[in-house]
């Protein structure tokens, strides 16, 4: 690791920061005190001008060892008394910071040397306020332009402009440093992007230009005596022009075999996602293509419900509006997405597939920021507001207007009543660094989807939908997080969340499902560094809450032959009940750094109150750094997932079910080809056991733990990080996922996709233009053919007769998505217009088969046709 800490003190004297300089006048009667913040009253007396003191010699304080190890930073407010000789005669601490900072700051400040304050030309004693800042940065101390009064022979002038549109950039901090370090100055560009340094000693200088939203710029310049060196610096927008956070995140050592991270610079720029960040997960290896419009996450051959989406560590049940249209959280709020396709840490539980963790970004603490986004589907507004120092608030709101389009598509007499489809969501987050050790974050978010159509008469060919279709989903959550650095070796995270969820689904007069739930979630985690090589992590997590449901409709079909697992049975069922689920867990993990080997040993114990079952999941992962560029890795572990709630309801399920279990094995290697390019190869095997499956012919008790499964495959991934003009992914997955129910023969899994090839790239063309494409080539999903049908006379409809389970497969899927964006930068705001074209060459991909009323004739049901989405985004 690079040198970790360098302490700097940023001198506040004579800098733009507020500073007080007060001469100590031995003759107060004749010489009024000077205070930079005081306003003279009446006409100024004819008095000699007072010149404040200037720091000539800065002394760097020692960074307190314990504070450095704990990663603490601080600011110590000092009051320094300077004698007429320029030496420090007294120093007092005005605002202590503790942790050894005060003593070190005092010690250093005593050795400062100043050019004394002057009244006219006469040196006088003075007293100043001085903020000694301890920061963990690798930046050399700076001097302001004013203070650099050393004899100079040359000067430099320049202009800073945008590389794309050549517009001047104001308030760029330009720092010039002589290569031997003896001179260092800074200034800011004016509103025309101009800057100037005077009286520079001859020599070679390092010049750096820094401003938010642009990549830092550096150049070496030669300054010659009696010459003016003129330069134009063209700054390039940072890879993500909307990345406002200045927080550098250093990923902690891995606690799992594979973590694939998509960071903020990539989240909204991948073609085919409509700028939707969560959809970007679909370009990663191991993720199967979900059926069109479903938004399902199918990871390494697992069922969609086997993978847990988390938002800021909080389990969420639905990532997308209307199942897959767009994600429920504003993209500007997000910082990164971590995807764990298997063998994840014991921190995560209750799932046997994978984990997708969506991370929110820190609010902007420095300035106001807003984004308005309008496209053909919805409109959203995002605001980022600093409140006080180290405290900011982010708020986002979005509403769809598909309802307006929908209503114009259908005549009024088509439906008796129609509402929606409408979705909306909101997120509000406040974050505060309450101290150097503590950070608090409060968040509230919610989402709603609603769709309702009522028919007076049955619709066209579907007599089952007599009465209409309606579904709604409404959720609200509040979430509080407290991160504390308790000591140099102990970190503590505490999270609490509560929320409600209400789901209603009605299908004609046949089905009515209502589900209400209060969700309570808590987590406490402690990370203790026992030594340089050993870290121990312990944690508790709890998922709990009361709920109630009512169900009216046909008995769920437990068709053994791969038929729909939906409410299509023959017997009407009416159920209602309330319940309380209580799922506590405790986990312990030790990270052993035995360089070049790193081992993570973990154990998790879960309890499921409705099953009255404990689960014990030991897990191990190992990384071996073969060379600095090549890492070998492997993992093994057990994973437990409780049955879904309705599966333990006696009338339709089995209250005596046990949890589903899975064994994950994986091994692979990672190769960092160059700084921006990495390759990965990983093989995996999953053995699923005690899986919940239906009984033969759906006899009581309907469900049993008699299913097993096996999933195996190889994933190849190449990634180009977004450090330059280009970033992209190339991934290929070769896999097989199979299931066996009871003593039946093996059958491929519903979403088994042996070949998944995804290539995605985004290129910054310049002058505000950016273009990207994503191409996918994926095996078709298997399906169970219908080999006949019976006329069900009671209901005047036909019942399908299924063939062998998943014995047929849909056609190969292929699709190309394109994205083009043009960004204009104006004074203080930006405007972007983007075009996202999904299925650019209009491939007719098979999503399934649709049958005639008696299942004799079928027609391929194709998915998304070419879909261009045009949008406009404004930002201040």
């Amino acid at each position: 690791m690079a040198r970790l800490t360098v302490c700097i003190a940023v001198m506040m004297l004579l800098a733009p920061q507020p500073v007080e300089a007060q001469p100590i006048d031995p003759a107060p009667k004749s010489e009024p005190a000077v205070n930079a913040e005081s306003e003279p009253k009446g006409p100024p007396p004819a008095q000699p001008e007072i010149t404040p003191p200037r720091l000539l010699e800065f002394v760097e304080a020692t960074y307190p060892k314990s504070a450095r190890e704990a990663g603490l930073e601080a600011k110590v407010e000092l009051e320094i008394t300077i004698g007429p000789d320029g030496l420090v005669s007294d120093v007092k601490v005005i605002s202590p910071a503790g942790n050894g900072f005060d003593e070190e700051a005092l010690e250093a400040a005593k050795r400062f040397r100043f050019e004394p304050a002057k009244r006219g030309d006469t040196p006088v004693a003075s007293r100043i306020r001085y903020g000694y800042i301890f920061e963990m940065r690798e930046v050399a101390p700076l001097q302001t332009e004013q203070e650099a009064q050393a004899p100079s022979l040359g000067s430099m002038e320049g202009k800073v402009i945008d590389r794309d549109d050549e517009e001047p950039i104001e308030k760029v901090e330009v720092i010039i440093s002589l290569n031997d370090g003896s001179v260092s100055r800074r200034t800011l560009t004016d509103n025309q992007g101009n800057f100037r340094f005077e009286q520079l000693p001859e020599g070679r200088y390092q010049v750096t230009a820094i401003v938010q939203q642009y990549s830092a710029f550096s150049a070496e310049e030669q300054i010659r005596s009696d010459e003016v060196t003129s330069v134009i610096y063209r700054l390039e927008l940072a890879t993500d022009p909307y990345a406002f956070s200045a927080t550098a995140r250093i990923p902690p050592p891995p606690r799992e075999v594979t973590r694939r991270t998509i960071n903020r610079q990539q989240l909204t720029r991948i073609a085919g996602t409509k700028g939707d960040p969560i959809r970007t997960v679909e370009v990663l290896p191991g993720v199967a293509r979900p059926p069109f419009g479903s938004g399902l996450l199918i990871v390494r051959g697992s069922r969609p419900g086997d993978t847990q989406p988390l938002f800021e560590g909080l389990p969420v049940s639905l990532l997308y509006h209307f199942g897959g249209l767009t994600s429920f959280v504003n993209s500007r709020l997000l910082d990164s997405i971590d995807f764990y396709p298997g063998n994840f840490s014991v921190r995560y539980g209750r799932k046997q597939g994978g984990i997708v963790e969506v991370q929110a970004a820190e609010p902007e603490f420095e300035r106001f920021h807003g984004v308005a986004d309008i496209n053909l589907v919805d409109a959203s507004l995002f605001l980022e507001v600093p409140i006080v120092k180290d405290t900011g608030v982010v708020a986002a709101i979005r509403r769809s207007y598909i309802d307006f389009v929908f209503e114009s598509l259908f005549s009024d007499d088509t439906f008796s009543v129609m509402a929606a489809p409408v979705y909306w969501d909101y997120q509000v987050m406040a974050s505060s660094r309450v101290s150097s050790r503590d950070k608090l974050r409060l968040m509230a978010f919610g989402a709603s989807d609603r769709f309702e159509i009522l028919f007076e008469q049955p619709s066209g060919e579907q007599q089952e939908v007599t009465g209409g279709v309606d579904f709604s989903n409404l959720s609200h959550r509040v979430h509080a997080t407290w991160n504390r650095r308790a000591s140099a070796s102990l970190d503590q995270d505490i999270e609490l969340a509560a929320g409600t969820r209400e789901f209603h689904f009605g299908f004609g007069r046949e089905i009515d499902v209502l589900f209400k739930l209060v969700e309570i979630y808590g987590r406490a985690e402690w990370r203790y560094r026992l030594s340089r090589r050993v870290t121990v992590i312990g944690g508790l997590d709890l998922l709990s809450g009361p709920g109630e449901y009512s169900f009216y409709g046909p008995r769920p079909d437990r068709n053994q032959s791969g038929g729909p697992d939906g409410p299509l049975g023959n017997n009407t069922l009416e159920l209602s009940d309330d319940f309380l689920y209580f799922y506590p867990a405790v986990y312990l993990e030790s990270n052993l750094d035995l360089s070049p080997v790193r081992l993570v040993l973990g154990t998790r114990v879960d309890y499921f109150n409705n099953l009255q079952e404990f689960a014990f999941d030991p897990r191990l992962s190992a990384h071996y750094s073969l060379t600095p560029e090549v890492t070998l890795k492997a993992g093994v572990g057990l994973f437990t997932q409780p049955p879904e709630g309705q599966e333990t309801v006696e009338e339709i399920g089995n209250p005596n079910l046990k949890p589903n279990r899975a064994l994950h094995l994986s091994a692979g290697c990672e190769y960092q080809v160059v700084e921006e390019v990495s390759l990965g190869l990983e093989g995996y095997f999953k053995y699923l056991f005690e899986q919940v499956v239906p009984t033969a012919f759906g006899q009581e008790p309907y469900l049993v733990n008699d299913g097993i499964g096996r999933v195996y495959g190889v994933e190849l991934a190449a990634k180009v990080e977004p450090s330059g003009r280009f970033f992209g992914y190339l991934s290929y997955t070769l896999s097989r996922s199979e299931r066996r129910e009871r003593d039946d023969s093996w059958a491929v899994f519903d979403f088994d996709q042996p070949h998944i090839l995804t290539a995605s790239g985004t290129y910054r063309l310049g002058r505000g233009w950016e273009a990207g494409l994503t191409f996918r080539l994926v095996s078709g999903n298997p399906y169970t053919p219908i080999v006949g049908s019976s006329y069900y006379s009671n209901e005047d409809r036909y019942i399908p007769i299924w063939g062998d389970q998943n014995s047929k497969r849909s056609r190969l899927f292929h699709r190309l998505d394109l994205r083009v964006e043009k960004l204009w930068t104006f004074d203080g705001w930006k405007l972007a217009v983007y075009l996202d074209v999904q299925n650019a060459y209009n491939a007719a991909n098979q999503e399934g088969l649709i049958y005639d009323y008696r299942f004799r004739k079928s027609q391929v049901l194709t998915g998304l046709p070419i879909l261009p989405v045009l949008g406009v985004r404004g930002e201040i």
């Binding site: 069109f292 419009g293 479903s294 938004g295 969609p304 419900g305 049940s317 199942g323 897959g324 249209l325 008469q457 049955p458 066209g460 060919e461 007599q463 007599t466 279709v469 989903n473 789901f503 689904f505 499902v513 008995r555 079909d557 068709n559 053994q560 038929g563 299509l568 049975g569 023959n570 709630g645 339709i652 012919f697 759906g698 006899q699 009581e700 009871r742 003593d743 006949g788 049908s789 019976s790 006329y791 069900y792 006379s793 009671n794 209901e795 005047d796 019942i799 007769i801 299924w802 999503e847 649709i850 005639d852 009323y853 004799r856 004739k857 027609q859 049901l861 998915g863 998304l864 046709p865």
Partner: protein, 366 residues
């Protein structure tokens, strides 16, 4: 599951939005081949009653229609079994008696052919077995019933049924021989001749509970049918045949204009027609579910031998002021010079086993 249901509904919705315009499959309301439209239960003492009484008999009649006028049920051969429905939660109904044929340890089916010595049993085989080896059939837990011609037969209701309903599984073979083969997923099949057709069928027979008042069939015989406001009287197929089959040549054979002239059927122009149906209030019975009074909701399915109906079924609810509905019919593009006879079939179900049917006809002229 909720997430999945939500996702499936959403996916279906968006697929429909994007692709519905491409779907071109046969519609249930178009009668293009032999079809079963429903099943009527009749009790010997009172044919208006629906629910058979345990220990007594009931007549089961399958309503079969053909696309061609004059086609008869003589070409049909059917095979049925009447059994106790198994308490299963799969869409394919199963007989409880089947489970006695299974090895429960393995959950696998034991081959019926081992019991009866052959893999496939036709009606003729069963008849022969009944005569020559009756003990073989007696070993089977289910009785097979073969019917030639019109599929209408009597069944005996057990004195003490295991469930509150019976299950009838079977097959109707038009121009073919029915057989049973337990190795087939469909269980039944037909040895079809050219142009033949097989129709596997399922019907649950609800049984009279002594605590419940009896249920009556809904009625269409006293319903009012109209075309574009004109009264639309019932006509018998035999009357239609009388007028239509009098011609000497094939070209004149289906001269429905003649039927119009004789006032046997209505004549209508080849343009969209509005059918209206009004039923009597007494067709909607009241009943109680767990002490709560409810009224029947009638489902009326409609079928036409030509043209297109704007929907395949309609409903009638008791709370409506007018117990009826309108339905739009679109004529086919090609109309023969002698007119196009179109028969329209209506069936009504009360959702509790009650069933009735009616037919109307009209002649479309150019």
């Amino acid at each position: 599951m909720i997430s999945r249901v939500f996702a499936v509904v959403a996916a279906a919705f968006f697929i429909c939005i994007f692709t519905a315009c491409d779907i071109d499959l046969p519609r249930v309301s178009e009668i293009t081949d032999t079809r079963v439209l429903g099943t009527r239960i009749e009790l010997p003492e009172d044919p208006s009653l629906v629910w058979p009484i345990p220990g007594e008999s009931a007549r089961i009649s399958w309503k079969v229609v053909f696309p061609a006028l004059g086609a008869s049920t003589d070409t049909l051969e059917s095979m049925f079994i009447v059994c106790t429905p198994a308490p299963v939660s799969v869409t394919t109904p199963l007989c409880l008696e089947f489970f006695s044929l299974m090895d429960k340890r393995k959950g696998a089916q034991q081959d019926l052919s081992q019991l009866i010595g052959v893999e496939r049993l036709t009606c003729a085989d069963l008849e022969q077995a009944k005569r020559e080896r009756p003990e073989l059939l007696e070993a089977l837990p289910i009785d097979f019933l073969c019917v030639e011609g019109e599929p209408s037969y009597e069944i005996e209701i057990p004195e003490d049924p295991a469930q509150d309903e019976l299950l009838i599984l079977g097959i109707l073979c038009d121009k073919g021989k029915a057989f049973v083969d337990i190795t087939r997923t469909a269980f039944f099949g037909c040895e079809l001749k050219k142009g033949g057709q097989e129709i596997p069928v399922v019907f649950y027979v609800p049984l009279q509970d002594e605590d419940d008042p009896p249920n009556h069939h809904p009625r269409l015989d006293n319903a009012e049918f109209r075309i574009n406001g004109r009264a639309w009287p019932q006509v018998l197929e035999t009357d239609l045949l009388k007028y239509l089959l009098d011609g000497d040549s094939n070209d004149e054979r289906f001269d429905c204009l003649r039927a119009v002239d004789e006032r046997a059927v209505l004549g209508v122009a080849a343009e969209n027609q509005v059918f209206s149906l009004l039923i009597e209030y007494d067709s909607l019975e009241e009943y109680r579910v767990r002490g709560e009074r409810q009224s029947e909701e009638l489902t009326i399915a409609h079928y036409a031998t030509s043209g297109k109906l704007n929907r395949d079924s309609s409903i009638i609810r008791s709370e409506w002021e007018v117990l009826g509905f309108d339905l739009e019919w679109e004529p086919p593009e090609e109309i023969p010079k002698n007119g196009l006879l179109t028969r329209v079939f209506f069936t009504v179900r009360d959702g509790r086993g009650g069933f009735d049917s009616a037919m109307r006809a009209f002649c479309v002229t150019r």
